[in-house]
Symmetry: C2
DNA sequence: GTCTATACTTCGATAGAC
DNA sequence: GTCTATCGAAGTATAGAC
């Protein structure tokens, strides 16, 4: 609304207090949903005065945007690191199938449904992430002898993304029927394409997801 | 909280006023997200006093539950009707790929993330819908000569559900890269399994999605 | 950079008259 | 079944002192 001339002071972007507020907002978002991210509650969670939220962020949307951006950049960097270390289909699937962060994504997509600032931010990131994934999958499929004729990489990517999203979301609801079968199915396909023994990155790709993905929650947008 | 003894009067379930309130709540949910569904705004949208919300619904969660339940039952009934009329893979895909109602689903899944009453309601419905879909897909795949050995029906269902969800969600974000290719890919697969000319329900299955699915928004849970 | 103080709005929910 | 009246809590945001 009042975005034309900025009459109010705004705190420095590298402030430690600011980072604490973003941390608190993220926690609240994950634990109780976006409706729980209010200036008062964020302040309380960070053990700071709620007015500081307005000192560092002009509006609550600015805070939401910052929360999203921080996780998104981190997630993209982690993706690049993991794929550089072992550019295999197996690693790609493991990164994608990691259910952490799906709650995060859901909240932001719900927010995006009716706040255009957030939507633009998410869309921008989704496209970057999608491009990175597509490049990785295209290379991995080619290495495994799958031609675009058999399976266009973009289709495989949408299938893979969709499957992992559904698994994560249903899991959050407590509905898990058929999940094991689906995971097994994918693993069989990958095992056939990339036998574990002859894989040059065997030592790497046999590691569990926590090792591959890192300790933090992921952003698995879009969804 | 105060659910032990009910000291307050609650209006009849078949009241016309009550239905208007549910309508208003659903509109607000779709247009502005669950955070916009407040007793005051629902009342205003329905052109009724906000206190009537509390007369017909003990809590706001009760209202949310009613909004969800109504759409869910309607959606399940529509699914059963469509599959009874033409139990083909094509109809199943068309029903699943209909993007209407994905905003609805997103809001409720976000709500479910932190309100256990809502989560239980959604989970119950998701399982019913999943079972109905699985039965239909199992029959359709068998009719098309696909054995569970080649593709377990539950895996196919999760893949199909996931793909259509991703398409719908990305669409809402304005990210549509590769969508056409994915849709074409699925159509090719279905065309190969169910040639349009020899299909006994050809007249039916050639209709557009609006005809098959009905005019209203769908619930495409889970997601 | 952080504080106190505060303006103003909206929220869920209830009591009790009609 | 619907109304008026109202409670207490919580929301965003700003001004200005320190």
């Amino acid at each position: 609304m009042a975005s034309s001339l900025q009459p109010r002071r705004i705190g420095a972007a590298d402030s430690k207090t600011r980072a604490r507020l973003v941390d608190a907002a993220e926690q609240l978002l994950l634990e109780e949903g976006y409706a729980a991210v209010t200036s008062r509650r964020v302040g309380a969670r960070a053990e700071l005065k709620p007015q500081l939220v307005h000192y560092y962020f002009r509006t609550m949307d600015d805070l939401f945007t910052e929360v999203f951006r921080r996780r998104a950049e981190e997630n993209l960097a982690r993706f690049q690191r993991a794929m550089a270390a072992d550019p295999s289909l197996r690693t790609l699937w493991r990164l994608n199938a990691d259910p952490r962060g799906s709650a995060f994504s859901i909240e932001f997509v719900a927010l995006a449904n009716h706040r255009k600032t957030i939507r633009a931010e998410i869309a921008r990131y989704a496209e970057r992430f999608r491009a990175a994934q597509l490049q990785a999958l295209t290379a991995a499929l080619a290495a495994d002898g799958i031609t675009p004729d058999q399976l266009p990489p973009i289709v495989g990517l949408l299938l893979m993304t969709g499957l992992s999203q559904v698994l994560a979301l249903e899991d959050a609801l407590g509905v898990t029927a058929g999940h094991a079968a689906a995971v097994e199915f994918v693993r069989d396909v990958i095992d056939r394409l990339e036998p574990r023994t002859s894989n040059l990155g065997a030592g790497v790709s046999d590691r569990g997801c926590t090792d591959v993905c890192g300790p933090d929650a992921r952003v698995t947008l879009p969804v």
